[in-house]
């Protein structure tokens, strides 16, 4: 027998200890000539052509798309056609992957070969036990043979699942005292869980410059002076007719859009957290909004709220500005798709943070951001440009000292800056220190 060429799997890349046969260029037993591409291997990076070194007859001992270890012989080129063996490549085992729908049914019967451990075989032979009694089993250990022979008894008390499902946290009466949840609190948890537990909410924030904002707002208000709430309710209600997705809720398989804008505002003054409804806020004036807020708050304090004061709310506002809150993340109420949170005005920075939490199943960040941006612009439009003490606006163009801070008792001098603009200069800068 003359072998012209033995083709082994080459080591081509450090990663690949096995290669894939991706092409077998000839029929098994065909005549090949020198320089022919006999077959192609594929590595993780490249393909590799095997070239015939001389003429002969090719005998493959591999299969297409199968993997072979480095140095394994996958083909031989023989001198004579008669030498080519009949191709007999063992079929590769197919995966034991049952169909998904059948999968739940536990496999109780094994159709494949049974594997016996040496100890099991020894015991079977000693007891002349026929292997056929284990038909339908995957593995047979010595214990299985003993069970079959009645030597061992099945262990009944095998440990079962070690799942510890903890629903309630432990309570040590020595260390804690227990207070039952009020029905109010339970309802709050239920309402807030409804949307929040999906985890599909998020919150975005914006900063509203508030310097001078009350100069124009306060004259319109009778009771709630220096509060942004009435004007926020007023402006939000108007915006919601455009941002319909925020005046809506997720039903489970659809989005329900409210036809009216009924703004709820959260209140919590010793009587528990409640959300009160300002009905038809989009067609009320600021004065009417303020009156509604006052009226509802009084009813809340006097325990005179009616069912309709608490229901049918299409959008909620929670105002924590009186609580000295820098920033917070409001939680969305049941049957709402969004909530607006109002933080306290930072007196130093003259600004206030507004936050919108929204339900991603109904809307998305971009829309909520546009809403917030629009609201911010509307609120800032109330700002007065020249709102403060006139003296405060006069400052030295060189040292920024204001007229109020000046100690010279002479006042500032009007001047023309080197850039040609009109300005003021303090005495120290004018005369030098």
């Amino acid at each position: 027998m003359a072998i012209v060429q033995e083709i082994k799997v080459p080591l081509i890349a450090v990663n690949d200890t096995s290669l894939t046969v991706v092409e077998m260029a000839f029929e098994h037993g065909s005549l090949v000539k020198k320089g022919d591409v006999l077959m192609v291997f594929e590595t993780s990076k490249t393909t590799y052509d095997v070239i015939a070194e001389a003429a002969g007859y090719i005998a493959y001992s591999c299969e297409l798309d199968a993997d072979y270890e480095v140095n394994e012989v996958v083909a031989i080129v023989y001198n004579d056609a008669a030498e080519v063996p009949v191709k007999a490549v063992p079929k590769k085992e197919t995966a034991v992957a049952a169909k998904k729908e059948d999968y739940k049914e536990a496999i109780a019967y094994w159709e494949g070969e049974t594997l016996f451990s040496p100890a099991a075989i020894e015991l079977m032979q000693a007891n002349k036990l026929d292997a056929a009694v284990f038909k339908g089993t995957d593995f047979v250990s010595k214990l299985d043979v003993e069970l079959k022979l009645g030597i061992a008894k099945p262990a009944l008390n095998k440990k079962t699942a070690a799942n510890k499902t903890v629903e309630l946290l432990p309570v040590d009466p020595d260390k804690v005292t227990i207070a039952k949840l009020s029905s109010n609190k339970k309802r709050e948890i239920e309402y807030l869980s409804n949307i929040q537990q999906t985890g599909l909410t998020s919150t975005i924030n914006t900063v509203v410059e508030t310097e001078g904002i009350f100069v124009h707002i306060n004259p319109s208000l009778q009771y709630l002076k220096n509060s942004l709430l009435p004007v926020i309710v007023y402006e939000t209600a108007r915006l919601l007719s455009t941002f319909k997705e925020l005046n809506a809720y997720f039903t489970g398989d659809a989005v329900a859009y409210y036809k009216e804008v009924n703004i709820g505002f959260a209140i919590d003054i010793d009587k528990g957290l409640k959300v009160l409804r300002v009905k038809d806020a989009a067609i009320k004036s600021i004065q009417e909004v303020e009156a509604a807020i006052m009226d509802l708050s009084n009813k809340y304090l006097d325990d005179n709220l009616l069912v309709e004061d608490l229901t049918g709310i299409s959008f909620t506002i929670t105002d924590l500005s009186a609580e000295n809150v820098h920033f917070f993340r409001p939680l969305i109420n049941m049957m709402n798709s969004a909530i607006l949170g109002v933080s306290s005005i930072d007196e130093k920075l003259n600004r206030c943070i507004l936050s919108v939490s929204f339900d991603h199943r109904v809307t998305e960040g971009k829309l909520a951001a546009q809403f917030l941006h629009e609201l911010k612009n509307r609120l800032q439009s109330y700002r007065s440009v020249h709102h403060t003490h006139p003296n405060q606006d006069i400052s030295c163009f060189k040292c920024f000292k204001t007229l109020m801070e000046d100690l010279s008792d002479v006042g500032f001098t009007k001047c023309i800056t080197p850039k040609g603009a009109e300005a003021y200069i303090c005495q120290s800068c004018l005369k030098g220190f």
Binding site: T17, K45, A95, L349, C396
Partner: protein, 607 residues
């Protein structure tokens, strides 16, 4: 005479910083302030010159001596005071305290050196967004001893990253004078990397501010880095009670201090301003002292690990693991605009030592960064990108080298979210191959996984040959916090489920980081074996032999999330079999198996 005249607004800002700092010292003496503080009394104008002249869109990274920088950049005196007093309204919710502040693009960390690559990454993010924003990172003369700085200077110069490094030289690293620990010339260090340098002194604030503006303008308009050496004097101790400098020396500094001079020559203004600022600060403190601290349950809610017990058939994939990885990255780098790929030697055609990055730089050249051999900077820059909203994938060529990036993983990536009171996320991904049996020798074959679990807020995932790694990577794309991915050198060339042990069934559960189990097709198993990563493939090939040699029917459980092991699944199996073996690669003592066995022991009922 005042050497220079600067505007009163700046003087008031400097005085505010000084007043706040001095208030901290007095609160500390009164026992009202936890921990220590590093004050910048004497160095205020450095804060105002740089942090004070930036735009809102710019950012500042600072160090342990960060209060002045914070006030100059954010103006948030109250948040700072509340933070150090440990109150919930503090800028970091009272969690970060003095050295760990985060507010509107301001970040500080008490680790020297490491903040430099992080800030470089943040600045790189701005450059990629072309938003015109730049950044300032403050270091001290003490930082000049840290290698991460030099790794980063090399990269920011090469990649033209708009970052201004401000080195505040107060001539002492804690208590050690420059003369003891600093060789050569400071500016020359930056110049050697081709970085433009400046120098100024806080005793001449006007010049300093003017030059700082020039430097800021240079970084912004040229999109290039810059190094600014600021000489300054610290008038108080490094921290508390660790000052061995002579009183004469400090007196000399005090006399050169601009605010001291101003107080002498403009006494009325000084007194007026001081009184007003002190009153304001005292009022704030009075108010803050009444506030509450953050409750532990607001901050931390422990979550129990619970794994899916729903098992589906695992399916072979006729592709090598490395091809699947490469395919995932090629697909994602174009589809996900947040994704950035960094590492050594990753440019194509080479495509990285193990070819995971093959062709990536052809497809998305602007998102693939081939780095110098600088593991600390690779991960640091990735951290900065992640803080800036990107999803960086850092490749560490060999797992052994991840030790060089450990500071970035433990003290930065892991810490940001929690120490900044959850105001910042760092969704960085660090990938690296571990494992031996390749003949690369002791420093290129280690399995260091056990050092990488148990890091707060960092998930560590080990992929394997039992399912497509893209399943894991797609989940990683959604993660908001750091993830380390352990790949395995010997697994790269293998196909998914390339070997199915006869008479066993392969199943995968529905966890986002799936667990695979290999169990006898019909028999009840007698022994539970746990192996992950590269070891799982080896153990899988031995399952038949294990049965023949031990007479025990094995069940193999293969976790992928090794930072939260599926102890419930393992406990359930071990309770049934009564036997548990954990097989892992690496040194024996203190391993992952020990952790798993301890957890399982707690879960399984007493026999």
């Amino acid at each position: 005479m005042l050497v220079q005249q600067i505007n009163h607004k700046l003087i008031k800002q400097a005085l505010t910083i000084r007043t706040v700092e001095e208030k901290f010292l007095s609160l500390f003496s009164e026992g009202k302030l936890n921990g220590t503080v590093h004050t910048c009394v004497g160095q205020e104008f450095s804060a105002l010159a740089f942090a004070g002249q930036l735009k809102k869109k710019d950012f500042v990274f600072s160090n342990h001596r960060c209060h002045g920088h914070y006030i100059a950049f954010t103006g948030d005196t109250k948040g700072l005071l509340a933070e150090l007093l440990g109150k919930a309204s503090g800028t970091s919710g009272g969690i970060g305290s003095s050295q760990h502040l985060c507010n509107s693009n301001f970040f500080s960390n008490g680790i020297q050196g490491g903040i430099v690559p992080v800030s470089a990454g943040y600045a790189l993010g701005n450059k990629l967004r072309k938003n015109g924003a730049i950044g300032v990172v403050y270091i001290g003369d003490g930082t000049l001893g840290e290698g991460a700085l030099y790794e980063t200077m090399n990269i920011i110069s090469k990649w033209e990253i708009p970052l201004l490094i401000v080195c505040e030289n107060n001539f002492y690293a804690q208590s050690t004078p420059n003369s003891v620990n600093l060789a050569g010339d400071i500016r020359a260090r930056a110049e050697a990397f081709g970085i433009k340098t400046f120098k100024g002194h806080t005793s001449s604030p006007e010049n300093l501010i003017e030059d700082a503006a020039t430097a800021i303008d240079y970084v912004r308009s040229e999109t290039k880095p810059c190094f600014f050496l600021v000489e300054t004097f610290r008038l108080n101790s490094h921290s508390k009670g660790d000052d061995d400098r002579s009183p004469e020396e400090i007196q000399e500094y005090r006399e050169k201090d601009y605010l001291t001079t101003f107080s002498k020559e403009q006494t009325d203004y000084y007194n007026n301003y001081s009184a007003a600022i002190s009153r304001e600060v005292n009022e704030m403190v009075e108010h803050i002292l009444q506030e509450r601290e953050q409750r532990i349950e607001e901050y931390y809610v422990p979550t129990a690990v619970s794994n899916s017990d729903n098992w589906l058939p695992a399916k072979p994939v006729n592709k090598r693991q490395v091809e699947l990885l490469n395919h995932f990255f090629k697909e994602t780098i174009t589809a996900d605009e947040r994704m950035i790929f960094l590492g050594e030697d990753i440019l194509s055609p080479y495509g990285g030592a193990f070819k995971v990055a093959k062709d990536l730089s052809f497809i998305a050249p602007e998102k693939v960064f081939s780095t110098p051999i600088s593991e600390s900077a690779i991960v640091g820059i990735s951290n900065g990108l992640a803080l800036n909203g990107f999803k960086p994938f850092a490749e560490i060529m060999f797992g052994d080298f991840i030790t060089l990036a450990f500071d970035q993983i433990v003290n930065h990536a892991s810490k940001f979210h929690h120490m900044f009171n959850k105001k910042a996320n760092c969704p960085v991904v660090v990938r690296t191959p571990m494992g031996g049996r390749r003949g690369y020798g002791p420093t290129h074959s280690q399995t260091l996984d056990k050092f990488l679990i148990g890091i707060d807020n960092v998930k560590t995932v080990a992929i394997n040959t039992f399912f497509d790694p893209a399943i894991v990577y797609r989940q990683i794309l959604k993660e908001e916090h750091p993830v380390i991915v352990i790949e395995n050198k010997t697994d790269y060339g293998k196909k998914i489920l390339h070997y199915l042990a006869p008479n066993f069934v392969y199943e995968i559960n529905e966890d986002v980081y799936p667990v695979v189990q290999v169990r006898p097709a019909v028999s009840v198993p007698d022994i539970t074996i746990v192996a992950y990563g590269g070891m799982a493939d080896l153990v899988n090939s031995l399952l038949g032999n294990i049965f023949l040699e031990t007479d025990l029917k094995p069940e193999l459980i293969i976790p992928s999330l090794i930072s939260a092991l599926p102890a419930d699944i393992v406990a359930k199996s071990a309770a049934r079999t009564g036997r548990l073996v954990v097989i892992e690669e690496g040194s024996a003592y203190g391993g992952i198996g020990a952790e798993l066995i301890a957890q399982v022991t707690e879960l399984v009922e007493e026999k």
